[in-house]
Amino acid sequence: MIPGQFDYVRPGSLDETLRILKDREGEAKLLSGGYSLLPLIKLRLAQPGLLVDLRDISGLDGISETDDYLTIGAKATHRQIHEAPVVADRYPLLHDVTAVIGDPQVRNWGTIGGSVAHADPASDWPAVLLAANATIVCRSQSGEREIAAHDFFVDTFQTAIEPTEVLTEIRFRRRPRGQGGAYEKLERKVGDFATVAVAGIVRLGSDGRIEGAGIGVTGVAETPFAATDAEAVLTGNAPSDALFRQAGLAAGAQSRPAADVRGPVEYKRAMTAEMTLRALRRAVERALAYA
């Protein structure tokens, strides 16, 4: 497939990038790894007038933990995140998701910022960001803006990013003791988009009850969403399979799946419940192991 015509530019700095975005507002599209954008351009579902390649912008791929946050630069590849010692040691949810995005070649080049900004309704990162209610940091000529994940994913392939903004980093709150997370993805075959996938985070209090929970779901609505009904079911209660099943039913009820080659609506709701159950089981195991 031959893409339609477009201009291409490779700016040397973030300031230059922001100026180009302003000058060519609405026409320019940012290119990072390209593994989400180029397939759409080849199918001519996306026809940008200008591609702005972020390759030469330095300082956007760091992964660092402070007392408050784990911060991941937008240009960090899935593989870099998977292999970062801090992620392998202390962020099992992030370690889970970076093992199952696409395939090895995609993970070599695809980036967290590209994936999040692309906002495919069945992509993996958005579910994780929603479960954690991570902060998405964007920059424009008027400065920096922080957007909560819960306010970010607006509709299919639509986010709260303005055309003149660059997504620069993702901030997760630092993992506290007693918290664990897990990602469960149902896919027809390796490398497929999720039929449904669920990111679950559970924080246990000193009494063993669930103090806080986050559930992000992808593949079963027009955009990834936070399963807030399921989170409410969990909060304040002692973890048990019965409780997780109840939360799973709530997540399934809140989903809005469309019937397609990956299955009918009833099946997808049932699988949303099942993946929620499985994610919560593993999240609690990990929370207990990090007491």
Binding site: M1, I2, P3, G4, Q5, F6, D7, Y8, R10, L31, G34, Y35, L38, P39, K42, L51, D53, R55, G102, D103, P104, Q105, V106, N108, W109, V190, G191
Partner: protein, 170 residues
Amino acid sequence: MTTHHITVTVNGEAHEADVEPRLLLVHLLRDTFGLTGTHVGCDTSNCGACTVHVDGQSAKSCTILAVQADGRSIKTIEGMATGADLHPLQQAFWDQHGLQCGFCTPGMIMQSAWLLADNPNPSEAEIREGISGNLCRCTGYVNIVKAIQQAAGEMAAAAETQTGAPVAAG
């Protein structure tokens, strides 16, 4: 639309070309440079037949623009053999019947080479995971996995002879 002048090193040789931004790397390799060993399979970044190395990282060349390769180093299947001596992976695919129609083979070998560079002594599960972005519709993968295992053993033995140091066991 303007064209861009790019410089790319392919299998150790410097190449230059004037390309439209929309030209895909796989077409640069095949149509501009005449290196037709890299195949176009699905053209949707699923099948991996077009896998090459870009700055040492395996990539699907149907999903990278030629302009993105500017200043980078590319390795294709044509760069694997040394003269008449096949690369251990090429020999192993031959020995183990790791191909039938052969369409997936260049991509499969390039992905395997990346896998072994990253993990010289992979388990069977790690091999299967490592080639999960490459589809073969003939073999059922059994002989492909055997071929990669053979090559891994030979390459590890060769590395040991070269350095005189024992290779760490898995």
